[in-house]
Amino acid sequence: MKIEELLSETLKRAATNEPPVIDAWARFERVANRRRVVRLVAAGLAAAAAVAVALVLVPELGKRDEGFVGPGPTESPDPTNSWRIAISDGDGYQLRYPLDWIRGEFEGTAEFRPPGTTSLAQGHEATSFAVTVRLDPEPYDAALKKGGLQCPGGAGCAPGQVLNRPGFMNGRAFLETHLGNQVQSERYFRIDWPAGPAPSCPGEPCPVPGPRALEVRVLGSSQLWDRHRDTGELIVRTIRPFALSVAALPDPSSSLRERLLAEGFTPLASPEERARVLGEAVPPGRAVEEAWNGFGLGATDFQVFVGKVFGPKGLGLDGRIVYAVYLTDVPTLIGGPYRPTPEPRGPVLVDHVVFVDALTGKALFSSSV
């Protein structure tokens, strides 16, 4: 008998001695509920700590030299701090939105809407309200050169009131219009946006890389306008550029790590963790002695992969050897789309390190080694 058959028979025989299942579901419920409570308590403690810090810091700020006057009130913590984070690495922005809002996308436009409302993809309804974001390939001032704003609603849409507030939005100029009628209202923001990553547009003409404009709209039916407008504008004010860099995301070793997990992001390796893996596995600029796709190099909390082609848009890594470090033991990475192409044979020179959100397959950051 071949060893394969012996092995199969041995394993299957061993499993025949299975004890009965007793209270498995009850035990599962206990564990699942306990973990839920732990998460809630941790979130509560974090919130309490934030309040405590704010209570200590705010009076201290009042005692400081009054020669500097901040741009706005500092009495209360920013409510957006506890919101979800949405990142678009393709369009190069990040923003925050309330926990109960729904994130969607239609026709290349990101949409964030409150619960109980209908998506703009279904047309403008009495139940519509949303904040939408899209990267316009035209530069910010293209509309100005043409003598006015291009109305986001298309032909027949009035330009509305134009406001110019330099200094807002990370110092970037913007234009804001207020379109309103009896049926719907809209605030339209056109933000001078830096050149994003090189666009990926297979099979179609690519826009010329360069400065763009980020178009952000807060719009909804007149019935819902007063209820959601303030929150919508708060969302707009959280928009920041997102670049594929370590600095673009908070230190994953901080308390935000748990939140990133809750958001479905694979957390980045902390600097210490990264140094531990990279230091042991691949000295910068050196060849890997044995490179297998999916070959676990055995560090405690990592899966280390070496392979060709990763394909995150704009990184220009196609065809290069990349080196990816996933944090393991994280449910979100299970089932991730990482499927590297043919195995490299023999020593491989690693020239990039890419950290990837295993859920979406998008790069969180990359760097040369």
Binding site: M1, K2, I3, E4, L6, L7, S8, E9, T10, L11, K12, R13, A14, A15, T16, N17, E18, P19, V21, A24, W25, R27, F28, V31, A32, R35, G264, W292, N293, G294, F295, G296, G298, T300, Q303, T328, D329, P331, T332, I334, G335, G336, Y338, R339, P340, E343
Partner: protein
């Protein structure tokens, strides 16, 4: 119970025992297998809204289980390598089976997982690749190397004698 939870409950009832048996094939301990199955299902539940409509949510749970086993194994590797086989295994697989069982225990975790998924779960290579999160070529390599090490540990006489399982 919500519709989502009801569907998970059905999934739990269908998958708990197979997962526990997979855990047993990996660990040789029913109590550890139960812990692994529970942990895999708790983590699967957390991701349930995302994966419930996937073609094989069971593959997700198996992948969690295999990864969890690897994490645990690293922490307790020293004790586990020298642990005696449990009596209940000896009773059902016989003396030759226990030799094979012990040899399997000494394999690196990924080789062991690949062999168990192939020869206990009878999964095809592409399914094993999904669970181990590696290319099919790596699965073939893991199985090949695992069998090679088993042969080397057991000696050519073992296979030639047919193992003579009790």
């Amino acid at each position: 119970m919500s519709d989502r939870d009801q569907r998970f409950r059905e999934f739990f009832d269908a998958e708990f025992r197979p997962l526990r048996r997979l855990g047993y094939a990996l660990t040789g301990s029913w109590s550890e297998a139960e812990d692994l199955a529970q942990e895999a299902l708790v983590r699967t539940y957390r991701a349930w809204s995302r994966i419930q409509n996937q073609e094989h949510p069971g593959a997700y749970a198996r992948r969690v289980l295999v990864n969890r086993h690897r994490s645990i194994l690293r922490r307790v590797m020293v004790e586990r390598k020298h642990a005696s086989p449990p009596e209940d295994v000896a009773r059902v697989v016989g003396d030759d089976g226990i030799v094979l069982w012990q040899a399997l225990r000494k394999l690196p975790q990924r080789q062991r997982a690949a062999l168990v998924l192939r020869y206990y779960e009878d999964l095809p290579d592409d399914e094993i690749a999904r669970i181990l999160d590696c290319p099919v070529g790596t699965v073939k390599s893991l199985v090949h190397r695992g069998l090679g090490r088993l042969r080397s540990t057991l000696g050519s006489g073992f296979e030639a004698a047919g193992g003579e399982l009790a």
